[in-house]
């Protein structure tokens, strides 16, 4: 039962804590949301914050389904939860189209009303809710990394 050193070393960090894979179908968004809320509560976030974290992950997953996979079913969305100290790090990972950062919108609510836009709210919400939201491409996968700290300050901020 003794692993090689590399295995043992790999095992040490025991990260990410929790991984959930679901098919790229919006019918699983509810489940993703419920698990995220549960995770956030278990990680010590208060109810309201857990609720919003679940929304942010819902939005990120929706974007993967709609944009990265262009609505194609049967692809996989992977969601990784990692608690480090008082920081919850959630990564939403896909193997679809690369995110074009220039298409990531910069929401201006004034413009929103005058232009009567119906999109562009998801990323804006994610950024409002989380302490940080970053997108990266690695090993042909898109990773949307969202971090939230469990402090009085960040509780106010969201």
């Amino acid at each position: 039962m003794r692993g090689r050193k590399a295995t043992a070393a790999k095992r040490r960090p025991a990260r990410p804590l929790i991984v959930l894979c679901v098919p790229s179908e919006t019918s699983f968004l509810g489940l993703v949301r419920d698990l995220t809320k549960r995770m956030a509560e278990q990680a010590g976030f208060e109810d309201g914050v857990a609720e919003r974290l679940a929304l942010a992950v819902d939005e990120a997953t929706t974007n993967v389904i709609e944009h990265a996979y262009g609505g194609e079913h049967g692809r996989t969305v992977e969601i990784r939860f990692d608690v480090r100290g008082d920081e919850l790090r959630i990564e939403v990972v896909d193997t679809g189209r690369m995110v074009d950062p220039r298409r990531m919108p910069d929401v201006d609510l004034g413009r929103y009303v005058t232009e009567r836009r119906t999109g562009g709210l998801g990323v804006h919400l994610m950024e409002k809710i989380m302490d940080s939201v970053t997108f990266r491409r690695s090993a042909r996968r898109n990773v949307c990394c969202m971090v939230k700290r469990r402090t009085a300050l960040s509780a106010n901020a969201s």
Binding site: G48, R52, A54, L55, T62, L109, R116, L121, H124, L125
Partner: protein
């Protein structure tokens, strides 16, 4: 699984929509089509009574944004009531409480349209 049911009740010339469940990218279409069906009936005074709404994601907010122009051009409005604390919080995060009038109760939301009427006459 209670995903989303939307019922509409007419209170005078005001259509009150009751979304029950949650509105996300999976269920937003059902919410949108209930709004659309009110507009097809030329009902432009809408109240969304969110008392049965567990949560709303941006897809649901987009559905409202997509209809508000047409509604207001016809002299109507879309107003809200019964928002839970967490749904209200989302509206506030987005500044949507500046775009939509939000009332504590359905009676107040419905009455607000009558008040509009009086101002007009």
């Amino acid at each position: 699984m209670n995903e989303l049911q939307v019922e509409t009740r007419h209170v005078g010339d005001v259509a009150v929509l009751y979304p029950k469940g949650y509105i996300n990218a999976h269920t937003a279409r059902a919410f949108e089509s209930e709004i659309r069906s009110a507009l097809r009936q030329e009902r432009f005074k809408l109240v969304v009574n969110a008392v049965g709404l567990q949560y709303i994601a941006s897809a649901g907010l987009g559905a409202m944004m997509g209809a508000i122009e047409e509604i207001r051009e016809h002299g109507g409005d879309l107003r809200l009531c019964g928002l839970s604390e967490s749904v209200l919080h989302i509206f506030e995060i987005l500044g949507f409480h500046h775009l939509y009038r939000i009332f504590p109760s359905e009676a107040e939301a419905v009455a607000s349209f009558r008040a509009d009427g009086r101002e007009d006459s």
